[in-house]
């Protein structure tokens, strides 16, 4: 099982000091957080993508490329890459370069984005978000898998004789997750292609997460990718820890109360009861997180949100220490208990390369098929 963090990349005033970091400070802090995540033994660092203040990560592969140069082991990912408003050709190029640079330490999570104006800013129509997602993703897959692509669609200029450069490392595209909160279409898309499904999990009650994950698992099996419990599931989570739980609550409360997403609404206690937010001791985080398995089944990736709402860098790094020293080792051990043999781990570049090599004959057949398909209208 993989553990990691995902960052929204918000520039928010620290409510306890009133100080707002500069954008440069926030970007550099994000790099420190990613490096620390590797140092404390986490497996994944994922950045969001936003195109409006107060967020800074508008160019995720630039950030991840910089992080890749300063890390050796951690998987670099996104949460999420906007498949709707980005040109799929540019996504294919950016992540192909990143994948080659980082020796395959890359996967990505696709999402539609929830900021309405971003669509018109990038020349798209939010009303078409779902068909746009289907078309863009269909093209992205072909760009990574076929040498020469002839393509015509509704939302982008046609491609004739287009070859993606650079080709994916070792001929294997990065693994793709599809992220969603409440859109069944996204679970269906992930299931259709046998990709991973990530539920954001932090803004909704577990009952909703359960429904979406169950749907994805059933449809994954329906489309013949394996058994339902072999589908590739990721979950978000949101934690704040101190050795004593009272200290955690007291310290986090002003950040919660003023947080851009849920501040000035329900109390910290209500929100903690209704969503997976856990503010307390490392042991409480361990217990709560292990409980996710009860409604999501044995899953593959757990990402925590720890660096938002104006929390200072020093505090975030302390959170990473606690995660790395006290929480993740126990979670690794406990999640392995009772996990059936046939439940796979999340695919990595290494396992995907191995899988491609072991089905070498199939791959030859596939490339012949691809060639013939290029000449279809």
């Amino acid at each position: 099982m993989q553990f990691g963090i995902f960052s929204v990349g918000d520039v928010t005033a620290d409510p306890t000091t009133g100080r707002t970091p500069t954008e440069a400070e926030r970007i550099r802090a994000t790099v420190e957080i990613a490096k620390k995540a590797e140092e404390v033994g986490l497996d994944v660092f994922a950045t969001g993508e936003h195109h409006n203040p107060p967020f800074v990560p508008s160019s995720p592969t630039t950030l991840l490329g910089y992080v890749a140069a300063q890390t050796d082991r951690i998987i670099l990912s996104t949460a999420t890459t906007l498949i709707t408003t980005n040109d799929p050709v540019k996504i294919a190029e950016d992540f192909s370069v990143l994948q080659n640079l980082s020796a395959g330490r890359v996967d990505l999570m696709l999402g539609r984005g929830n900021t309405g104006p971003v669509y018109p800013w990038f020349g798209q129509d939010i009303q078409a978000a779902i068909p746009l997602t289907v078309e863009h993703y269909g093209l992205l897959r072909r760009l990574w898998r076929e040498e020469v692509v002839d393509w015509t669609g509704n939302y982008r200029t046609s491609l004739q004789g287009f070859t993606l450069a650079p080709r994916p490392l070792d001929g294997v595209p990065p693994f793709v997750w599809h992220g969603s909160i409440r859109t069944p279409e996204v679970a269906e898309l992930a299931a259709y292609y046998g990709d991973g499904f990530f539920h954001n999990h932090i803004f909704w009650p577990p009952s909703h997460t359960k429904r979406m994950v169950q749907l994805y698992r059933q449809r994954f099996e329906h489309y013949g990718h394996g058994r339902a419990d072999q589908a590739i599931v990721g979950l978000g989570g949101q934690v704040f820890m101190r050795p004593n739980s009272q200290d955690a609550v007291a310290e986090f409360r002003p950040y919660f109360d003023n947080a851009p997403v849920y501040g000035h609404g329900p109390s910290l206690e209500e929100f903690s009861a209704q969503t997976p937010l856990t503010v307390g001791s490392p042991q409480q985080v361990i217990d709560r997180t292990l409980g996710f398995r009860q409604y999501a089944g044995d899953y593959q990736r757990q990402l925590f949100l720890i660096d938002h709402a104006g929390l200072p860098l020093k505090t975030v790094l302390e959170q990473l220490d606690l995660l790395g020293e006290e929480v993740i080792p126990v979670l690794r051990k406990e999640f392995a208990v009772g996990r059936p043999e046939h439940v796979p781990d999340a695919p990595t570049h290494e396992t995907l390369v191995k899988a491609a090599a072991s089905s070498g004959a199939d791959a030859d057949t596939a490339s012949v098929a691809d060639t013939s398909e290029e000449h279809q209208p």
Binding site: E135, G138, R141, E146, T183, E188, G194, Q274, A366, E373
Partner: protein, 214 residues
């Protein structure tokens, strides 16, 4: 069995809005009985879920208490919606409830609209505020609503008139409920899924390299 959900936006206890809601409910039950139809009535006092409604607006998800209220409305065959008239419209709480109610919950739902107010000068709130909102939500709004001013609950003559107006609205609503029959709930979740399935299936021939087997 006709399942009625009564949404009352009254704020005080006792509340004239709730009082009107109860009288309408009783009249509707009687009118249904006259058509050999039995009914159950579930009353939703919005005051009791007032904070939950606002939290839902702020966080985007409903608490489990409010979800069960949504479920009561969604499962009904007909809704009786009663609000106090505030500032020439429905109350903010009443509007907020329908703002957070999941999409399509009221689609093809027979709805009887009613309102209370300090004077009869506000009676057109039914036609100018409630009816358009419920039409927008794709409800089937009963042609006759009920507006009750404070005076309607007092003087003998006025009180008789209110009873007659309630009786007329209840009779119309019963006729509508009978004509509509038991309501089939829309399952938006499954509808979206089916649309997506169709979209992906239709997409496949075009995205020739996309196979489900890889």
């Amino acid at each position: 069995m006709t399942k009625l959900a009564i949404v009352s936006g009254g704020l005080r206890e006792p509340s004239s809005t709730r009082l009107l809601a109860d009288r309408i409910t009783a009249a509707v039950e009687a009118a249904l009985a006259g058509r050999n139809l039995t009914a159950t009535a579930s009353v939703i006092e919005l005051r009791r879920v007032g904070r939950a409604i606002m939290d839902t607006m702020l966080t985007g998800f409903a608490t489990s208490d409010l979800e069960s209220v949504f479920e009561t409305v969604a499962d009904a065959d007909g809704v009786i919606a009663v609000t106090p008239a505030f500032n020439a419209s429905f109350s903010g709480l009443f509007k907020s409830f329908f703002d957070v109610l999941p999409e399509e919950t009221l689609s093809e739902m027979p709805v009887l609209i009613a309102a209370t107010g300090g004077t009869e000068r506000h009676s057109l709130v039914l036609e100018h505020a409630l009816r358009p909102m419920f039409s927008y939500l794709h409800a089937i709004v009963s042609p006759t609503g009920v507006y009750a001013a404070t005076n309607d609950f007092g003087a003998q003559q006025r009180s008789v008139e209110l009873s007659e107006r309630i009786g007329k609205a209840a009779e119309d609503f019963a006729r509508l409920l009978q004509a509509c029959g038991p309501r089939t709930r829309r399952d938006v979740f499954t509808e979206e899924l089916t649309d997506m399935e169709r979209l992906l299936a239709g997409w496949q021939p075009r995205g020739a390299g996309d196979t489900v087997e890889d």
